[in-house]
C-alpha cells in the first residue's frame, strides 16, 4: 500500500521517466536508442500503473501493466526486425537518413 505522501513522488518519477523518454526520442538519432527511449516511456507508464494500483488497492493496474509489457515485447520484436532490415549492416544508424519522402 503506497502511502499518501509518497504517491505524488512516484507519479512524478513516472512522469519524469516518461517525458525523459520523449526527450530522448526528440534528440537521439540512433534508431535503436530512440526505440529504447520509447521502451523507457512504456516503463514509466508501467510505474504509474503499478503505483496507482498499489495506491488504490486495485489489481487492475497490475494486469494492465502486464499487458503493456507483452505489447512492448511484441513491438520490440517487430521493431528491431524492421530496423535490422532497414539499417542493414554497414549503413549508418541515423533516423535522419529516412527523409526520402517529405513535404
Amino acid at each position: 500500500m503506497l502511502s499518501q505522501a509518497m504517491f505524488p513522488w512516484l507519479l512524478l518519477t513516472a512522469a519524469f521517466l516518461f517525458t525523459l523518454g520523449a526527450l530522448g526520442v526528440l534528440i537521439r538519432r540512433n534508431p535503436l536508442v530512440v526505440f529504447m527511449c520509447i521502451e523507457l516511456m512504456l516503463n514509466a507508464v508501467n510505474l504509474a500503473l503499478v503505483g496507482y494500483s498499489s495506491y488504490l488497492n486495485s489489481e487492475e493496474g497490475q494486469v494492465f501493466a502486464f499487458m503493456v509489457i507483452v505489447v512492448a515485447a511484441a513491438e520490440v520484436v517487430v521493431g528491431l526486425g524492421l530496423l535490422t532490415r532497414v539499417f542493414s549492416i554497414g549503413r549508418e544508424l541515423d533516423v535522419d537518413d529516412l527523409d526520402e519522402m517529405k513535404q
Binding site: F35, I38, L49, V63, V71, V95, M101
Partner: protein
C-alpha cells in the same frame, strides 16, 4: 461495513465468460480464425495459386460480414456488454464492423492484381490484413482501456509490417520505420493517458469510468490530463493535425493497396472508439476536453486542406485530404455530446468517407502499373482519354471528397455542419465551410489534370487494364458514394440507430 463485505467476496469473485460473451465476439472470432487459417494456408498453397488466399480471405470476410449484419439485429437497440464490460455488443460496433469488413473485402479484391504487378509477396499479406481487421473490429467494440490499447496495438503492428511489405522498395521500408517509431511514440502517450484515467477513476472499464466521472463534480486535473493524452494517442491514429505528420509519408511509401486499407479502416475504427470514449464515457467532462477536440478539428481542416493545395503526388494529396476529412468528422465528435446529430453525422461521414476514399485509393491501386506506383500528378495526365470510366470514377470520388451534392461527401459534411450549427458553434461550421471551399481547388485540379493531354516529352504512364476485380470495386464504391449521396435516409437511419444504443451508455 460494505468494504468488509466486498473483502469477504474477493477470492470468490471469479467471473467466467460464457457463450453469450462469445456470441458478442462472433465476427471478430471468425476473422481471427481466418487469420490463423491463412497463416497455415500460406504454407500449403502452391506459389502459383496464391490467389486462393485472397479468395479464402474474401470468404472469411463475407462470413464475418454476414454475422455482423446478423449481430446488428441480434444485439438489438440497447446492445449488451460482454466480457465483463470489456467489449460492447451493440449496433455501433456492428455498424463499424460492417464498414471495416466491406473495406477489407474490397481491399482484398483489388490486392492480388496489385501485388502481382508490383511483384510483391502474397503469403503473409492476407494474414496480416486479416489480423489488422481483427484489431480494428476489436477496437470498434472495445469498452475497456485495456482492450482499446491492445486492439490498437494489434492493428498497428499489423500495419507497421504491411507498410513495409514491399521489401525491395526503400520508400516502403522508410514508411514502415516512420510509422513504427511514431506509432509507438503515440501509443506511449495513449498509455500514459490511460494510466492517469485509470488511476483517477479507479477503473479500466468505460462504464465505470463514466460513472465515476459523472460523480466527480469538481474537476480533476489529472483526469483531464489523462483524457487529453488519450485523445492525442487516438488523434494520431485518425491522423488528425497536429499529430498527422506521419500520414503523408506513410501513405506515400506504403504499398498502395495497404494505404487504401489503412486510410479508411483505421480511421473508421479509431473514430468509433473516439465516439465511445468522448461522446459517451467522457461526456460529463465535455466542457474540459471540447476545446482541445475543436482545436484539433480546426487544425486538421486547415492543415490538411492547405497542405494538400500544392501537392503533386496523388497519394500525398489524398493523405492530406484524409487529414482534412478527419477534421470534419471531429466536428461531429466535438459537438456530439447532447446533440445526437453530431455523432450521427460523424457516423454517416465515416460510411461516406469509407466508400469515397476507398474508391479514390482503389483507382490509384488499380491504375498502378508495373514500374512504379501511380503517384505523380503527371501520371494522371490524359487518363480521361484512355480510361474514361476510371477517370470519371476518380473525378466522382474527388467531388465527393470535396462535398458536392449527389455524392456521399455532401451529406457527411452537411450533417456535421448541421450539428455544429445546432450546437451554436457557428465558428466551427465556418471553419469547415472555408476550408471546404479551399479543398475544392485541389480536388478539381486533379480532375483538370486528367483532362489534359499528356506532355509531349515525358514518357506516358502505362496504365494497366482495369480488370474485372478492379472494375467491380470501382463500381461498388461509386455506387455506394452515389447511394449515400441521394438516398440519405438509408444510412442515416442506420447511423441514428447505431448512435442511439451506444455502449457503455451513461
Amino acid at each position: 461495513m460494505r468494504t468488509v463485505n466486498a473483502l469477504a467476496a474477493l477470492p470468490l469473485a471469479t467471473a467466467t465468460p460464457g457463450w453469450r460473451d462469445l456470441v458478442g465476439l462472433l465476427p471478430e472470432l471468425i476473422a481471427a480464425g481466418g487469420f490463423l487459417a491463412l497463416m497455415l494456408l500460406d504454407l500449403v498453397v502452391p506459389p502459383a495459386r496464391r490467389t486462393w488466399l485472397a479468395v479464402f480471405s474474401g470468404a472469411v470476410l463475407v462470413g464475418a460480414l454476414a454475422v455482423s449484419v446478423w449481430g446488428w439485429y441480434d444485439a438489438g437497440s440497447a446492445g449488451r456488454s460482454v466480457f465483463f464490460g470489456a467489449f460492447a455488443y451493440d449496433r455501433l460496433a456492428e455498424f463499424a464492423n460492417c464498414v471495416i469488413l466491406v473495406t477489407t473485402l474490397l481491399t482484398v479484391v483489388i490486392s492480388p492484381g496489385y501485388l502481382n504487378r508490383r511483384r510483391l509477396h502474397h503469403g503473409e499479406y492476407y494474414s496480416l490484413l486479416m489480423a489488422a481487421t481483427v484489431g480494428m473490429m476489436l477496437l470498434a467494440g472495445a469498452t475497456s482501456l485495456m482492450v482499446i490499447f491492445l486492439a490498437i496495438e494489434l492493428l498497428s503492428i499489423s500495419l507497421y509490417i504491411l507498410s513495409g511489405f514491399s521489401r525491395q522498395e526503400e520508400r516502403s521500408q522508410e514508411a514502415a520505420v516512420k510509422y513504427l517509431l511514431l506509432g509507438s511514440f503515440a501509443s506511449a502517450f495513449l498509455l500514459f493517458g490511460m494510466a492517469l484515467v485509470y488511476g483517477e477513476t479507479g477503473h479500466t472499464q468505460l462504464a465505470q469510468i463514466a460513472e465515476a466521472m459523472s460523480r466527480s463534480l469538481p474537476v480533476d486535473p489529472l483526469l483531464v490530463g489523462g483524457i487529453i493524452l488519450m485523445f492525442v494517442g487516438l488523434a494520431f491514429k485518425v491522423s488528425a493535425a497536429p499529430f498527422h505528420a506521419w500520414t503523408p509519408d506513410v501513405y506515400q511509401g506504403a504499398p498502395t493497396s495497404v494505404t487504401t486499407f489503412m486510410s479508411v479502416a483505421t480511421k473508421v475504427a479509431a473514430f468509433i472508439v473516439i465516439i465511445r470514449l468522448f461522446d459517451d464515457a467522457f461526456a460529463s467532462y465535455y466542457s474540459r476536453w471540447s476545446a482541445v477536440v475543436i482545436a484539433v478539428a480546426i487544425l486538421s481542416m486547415v492543415v490538411g486542406n492547405l497542405a494538400a493545395l500544392t501537392q503533386n503526388s496523388i497519394k500525398r494529396m489524398l493523405a492530406y485530404s484524409g487529414i482534412a476529412q478527419a477534421g470534419y468528422i471531429l466536428i461531429g465528435v466535438a459537438v456530439g455530446v447532447g446533440i445526437p446529430l453530431g455523432v450521427q453525422g460523424a457516423l454517416y461521414y465515416l460510411a461516406a468517407y469509407a466508400f469515397t476514399n476507398l474508391g479514390a485509393f482503389a483507382v490509384v491501386t488499380v491504375m498502378s502499373g508495373q514500374g512504379e506506383d501511380l503517384d505523380s500528378y503527371d501520371h494522371l495526365r490524359g487518363l480521361w482519354r484512355r480510361r474514361p470510366y476510371v477517370a470519371a470514377a476518380l473525378a466522382f470520388f474527388l467531388l465527393s471528397l470535396a462535398g458536392f451534392p449527389f455524392t456521399a461527401g455532401f451529406f457527411g459534411k452537411f450533417l456535421v455542419f448541421a450539428a455544429a450549427i445546432q450546437a451554436h458553434n457557428v465558428a466551427l461550421a465556418l471553419w469547415g465551410i472555408g476550408t471546404s471551399a479551399v479543398s475544392v481547388f485541389y480536388y478539381l485540379r486533379v480532375t483538370l489534370i486528367m483532362f489534359q493531354r499528356p506532355k509531349e516529352d515525358a514518357p506516358a504512364y502505362e496504365w494497366p487494364r482495369t480488370g474485372l476485380a478492379g472494375s467491380a470495386v470501382l463500381l461498388v464504391t461509386a455506387a455506394g458514394t452515389l447511394v449515400l449521396g441521394v438516398f440519405v435516409v438509408l444510412v442515416l437511419t442506420v447511423a441514428t440507430m447505431a448512435q442511439a444504443g451506444t455502449l457503455p451508455g451513461t
